[in-house]
Amino acid sequence: MSKIGVFICHCGENISATVDVARVAEAAGQIEGVAFSTDYKYMCSDPGQTMIKQAIKEKGLTGVVVGSCSPRMHEPTFRKACQEAGLNPFMCEMANLREHCSWVHDKSEATTQKAIDLVRTLVEKVKLNKPLYSIKVPVTKTALVIGGGIAGIQASLDIANAGHQVILVERDPSIGGHMSQLSETFPTLDCSQCILTPRMVEVAQHPNIKLMTYAELEKLEGSIGSFKATIRKKAKSIDEDLCNGCGTCTTKCPTKKIPSEFNTGLGMRTAIYVPFPQAVPNKPVIDKENCSYYQKGKCKVCEKVCPTGAIRFDQEDELVELEVGAVVIATGFDIMQPSGFPEYGYGKYKDVITGLQFERLASASGPTLGEIRRPSDGKIPEKIVFVACAGSRDPAKGIPYCSKICCMYTAKHAMLYQHKVHHGKSYIFYMDIRAAGKNYEEFVRRAIVEDEVNYIRGRVSKIYEENGKLIVKGVDTLSSAKPVEIEADMVVLASAAVANPGAEALAQKMHVSYDSYNFFSEAHPKLKPVETNTAGIFLAGACQAPKDIPETVSQASGAASKVIILFSKDELSRDPLIAVVNRSPAPVFSTCVGCFMCASACPYQAIGEELITNRQGKVIKKVAKVNPGLCQGCGTCVAFCRSKSIDIQGYSNEQMCAEVIALLNHE
């Protein structure tokens, strides 16, 4: 005979404001098998927990139901409390009276009645709960970091320096990410590559870091502590051990007119190429789509000139399987192609460019060696217009959010322009200046006051070309919305920061959730900003939302420390809410008929065979057996089993039925 304790929480006023908690506790007391029932202002508080512990001891409770917030919030808290009082933690269940009741309904009889129903349902369930013992999993102390931008670099270095193994996977031929494309960085105007490249080299040389460039995640299985990752190493068509990075091949390659991704199409590269001089690793790859050998079957110039004979045309993609204990996603962001802006003529007029393209123009390593020259005719622009919020804060273009970094980099762009073109005039059309950050506001003021950048508050409606000039039709909303028309030589659009094109697919491979803009979702907006809702997978940088460098670096270190904390233990305990095949005494052994429908349905290949033999060792019966190490407890097998021989601990058929019945029969 079970003795259940029911504890109803007011959650301050959050529940008690719309639910008559006293009545809920009272009604719960009437339920058969309930030995104790009460309500209290804050069940999660110390006194609240003590109240539960005492009741368990004094009343000898066999099960506990806490009617309070969502189990996703406090289930661990209360289960721990029960454990401390000597009750098996899995004998404690929570009725969600806040998120699913008091917060979504108005104060009324029906609301209180619903609360009572929810509590009764869980009481009936907990009656059927069985003590469970968590499963121990060993921790593989190797971290997988996906993305080799500043976020991935920082996370890798931190984890590696803590003495753990790191595998850093980068999609492109070199690490460095967007930061390596930037000219100077706000608010200090120090050269981006000067501060980044040492870190890149450190990564390459670190004994604990295994670098895999030109590679992508193919598959991720398993769970926290013991993931199995499959990486696709795309064929670089060179033997990395033989190649010494002399660069002869890249200089000799006849196919020279390929728009360079690194220079955002403003410069050219060859078919066999190193994306940029400081690339890490500084070894080339062959771009098959553009290589005349792969396309037309002849050329092989690189092979002829290579002093070490490192070219491998027959090289194929390679799939590598890795055991890792944790994953850090640091895949960064992309910028919205302003082709969504017919009124601004991007793609139509050569001299309308994006902010990232301007970075390359301003960069000493860029196509113009740092001189601001417009793409169309190489002329130095006398008048330049910057358009902030090009795509951002623009629901009509599908991006209602603020990209956060544009205000600062646009101020920086204008500043750099003024420093390089002294007689030039620069204008920035903006809606608001968002410069919250250490020394940010001061930076913007400097641009306005000292560098005489002209800020005009208003959006641009149209940009068109008329005899060699770009006519920018804007407005000054701060002087009775006077229309402003500027004849500019060049226009820079601060195009919105968006999620990487591959983000959605990647999220699905790893089963982490993502928002409607395909940015990865953190586990809690405030208290778990680097965790995902999948244990053991963490977030760093702009893959979670637009971020500037300082923020990215701090989040990366945050993610790294989470990994290090995880690796500080040798084994983890996992919830035992997994599938089991029933066993019964001879001669039945199990109701399982060995059809293995379950095995075919299992997404984790967690179900194998078990042979039941008699004393003579003769096989009498073949039944299914769940491998507790692999089973994740989804329960798909349960729904498939026709003989009802397999069940999920904690979500058993019996328990679910009890819930259904309890929920429906209240009169």
Binding site: S70, P71, R72, N96, R98, E99, H100, W103, V104, H105, D106, S108, A110, T111, Q113, K114, D117, L118, T121, A507, Q508, H511, S513, D515, S516, S521, N533, T534, L577, A601, P603, Y604, Q632, G633, C634, G635, T636, V638, A639, F640, I648, Y651, N653, M656, C657, E659, V660, I661, L663, L664, N665
Partner: protein, 148 residues
């Protein structure tokens, strides 16, 4: 005369819809009291016999909701659920249960308002359909199932 208040059970998965419904709460979006949630690890876990059971026990309507396609926390549970749901519809016809009494949907952890909409629209649909009365039929069927 008071309006018919349907009894509706929601079978939802722990990772997407349950969290989505939590978000509805945190965003203080109001919806009808008629729907009560039972938490499952995954829609793949849901044995559709449980749905019949619910009708047998006097439910007027049911919501089944989990992760969007490809977003399943367990890779493919929601696909299995979908396939079984399609087979299950046939059975519903056989038992003369109006398919509209079951709302099959996807609600992610980020779709708090969508959850509220689904609840309210389902409640309205069921109100129009009126109470479900033929439990005996279902109960009978379930017994047969059990005895096999």
């Amino acid at each position: 005369m008071t309006e018919f208040e349907p009894k509706i059970i929601a079978f939802v998965c722990n990772w997407c819809t349950y969290a989505g419904a939590d978000l509805t709460g945190t965003s203080r979006i109001k919806y009808a009291q008629n729907v009560k949630i039972i938490r499952f690890p995954c829609t793949g876990r849901i044995d559709f016999m449980l749905l019949l059971k619910s009708f047998g026990e006097g439910a007027d309507g049911i919501i089944v909701s989990g992760c969007h396609p490809n977003d399943c926390h367990y890779t493919s549970g929601n696909f299995h659920a979908r396939r079984r749901w399609i087979m299950f519809r046939g059975l519903l016809d056989m038992l003369g249960i109006d398919v509209r009494r079951i709302q099959y949907s996807w609600v992610s952890a980020a779709e708090g308002s969508k959850w509220a909409d689904i609840v309210n629209s389902t409640v309205n649909t069921i109100r129009e359909l009126g109470p479900y009365t033929e439990y005996e039929k279902v109960a009978g069927y379930l017994e047969k199932e059990a005895n096999q």
